[in-house]
Amino acid sequence: MGIGPSTKETSLHHFRDPLLDVVSGDKDIDLMGIMVVGTPQDNKEKYFVGQRAAAWAEAMRADGVIISVDGWGNSHVDYANTIEEIGKRGIPVVGLSFVGTQAKFVVTNNYMDTIVDFNKSKEGIETQVVGENNVAVLDAKKALAFLKLKMRKEGK
């Protein structure tokens, strides 16, 4: 599985993205930018782009990272790896993902202890209904609150 109709983000979603609104609107946060990273097919390349994303965050001297994913299943391999690479560098990281009952992580690691599940369907599945399982304002607020706690705990 890659990306289903209910989990994909439309161009309109990107244009008025709740995650960006919430994080950029918080005066306690200096939002340095939005880093987009793709999902290559090859496993070696999956690890490579994850490492590069983490190296960027380290070079930016990030105090914290919020990572969101617009697919699940196979793309959770990339997701878990990128979180691990960021976590290994001592940067607090909070994730946002569709999980529900269907998208149990195929791989996991110690740094995946704070993941906000943005599933909205009652059954917890990919419903094929566009717009249903996307990040909403409340999900974004939760993720930011978790990150603030994590940064404080880790003395950032």
Partner: protein, 253 residues
């Protein structure tokens, strides 16, 4: 030292549309959007993989219709000053473009599950990525030629044709006087020196047909002039908050 430092300014001016109709040419006048009725014929001619394009106007509440899989929902925005992320952007509210597609044998343009069916059952209204119940939807339905291997170029031709269609509306939108906008929002890219430094990472699809994203197109939420995340090797790219909210990322999922 402790003061916020402003890097760049972006102003998005929204023009609200109360009514959408089909007419002789693309125009926007007194909250009414008119779409050129001949335009789909010209668009079909330009894309060799496309058999037919059907443009319909869906009024608010008229969602009890069958649609092919929803490839994207796109805002109509255009730059009137500066590049993406700075200057002035005009955008329409009250109307959004919905791109749907299948080939002439009915194969839906989606790799990992598709959303074809009765529109009111396949679309949740009022989300960040979807129209609200009071919005018009311009339904751009593409029929692709059959029996072509399912590769990137197939859905891409539908995205391109739809972008060309939107460009026609963008040209009308560019000509509007900013003082007539219904809403105006100012966004500042800034540094907050005493606040926690945070980066948002968005992992986006980048593997193939309908599993792709485009970056840095010429127009907000556009296709033309952009680069696919696949073609840049899926490596991380930094986008400023204002570039992002000005439509630097275009979904092709």
């Amino acid at each position: 030292m402790n003061k916020e430092k402003i890097l760049r300014r972006l102003v998005i001016k929204a023009f609200h549309i109360d009514k959408v109709e089909v007419g002789d040419k693309n125009s926007i006048d007194k909250r009414m959007l008119t779409i050129d009725k001949e335009i789909s014929k010209n668009l079909v001619k330009n894309e060799e993989l496309i058999e037919d394009i059907n443009i319909k106007i869906i009024k608010p509440g008229q969602h009890d219709i069958y649609v092919n899989t929803i490839m994207d929902i796109i805002p109509v925005s255009t730059k009137v000053l500066g590049k993406i992320g700075e200057g002035i952007t005009h955008t329409l509210t009250g109307v959004y473009v919905m791109l749907t597609g299948a080939d002439s044998k009915g194969k839906q343009m989606h790799e990992f599950g598709s959303s074809e069916g009765i529109l009111k059952e396949q679309l949740v209204l009022g989300k960040a990525g979807t129209p609200s119940k009071d919005d018009y939807i311009i339904h751009f339905d593409v029929t692709l030629k059959p029996d072509i291997p399912y590769e990137r170029k197939l859905p891409l031709s539908a995205f391109k044709a739809c972008d060309e269609f939107i460009q026609g509306i963008r040209m009308a939108l560019k000509g509007l006087d900013g003082r007539d906008s219904t809403e105006s929002h100012e966004y500042l890219d800034k540094i907050r020196p005493n606040s926690k430094k945070v980066v948002i990472v968005k992992q986006i699809a980048g593997q193939g047909a309908m599993y792709d994203n485009q970056l840095f197109s010429d127009e907000p939420s556009g296709v033309s002039g952009g680069k696919s995340i696949i073609d840049i090797g899926n490596v991380p790219m930094i986008i400023s908050p204002n570039e992002y909210r000005d439509g630097a990322l275009r979904a092709m999922t």
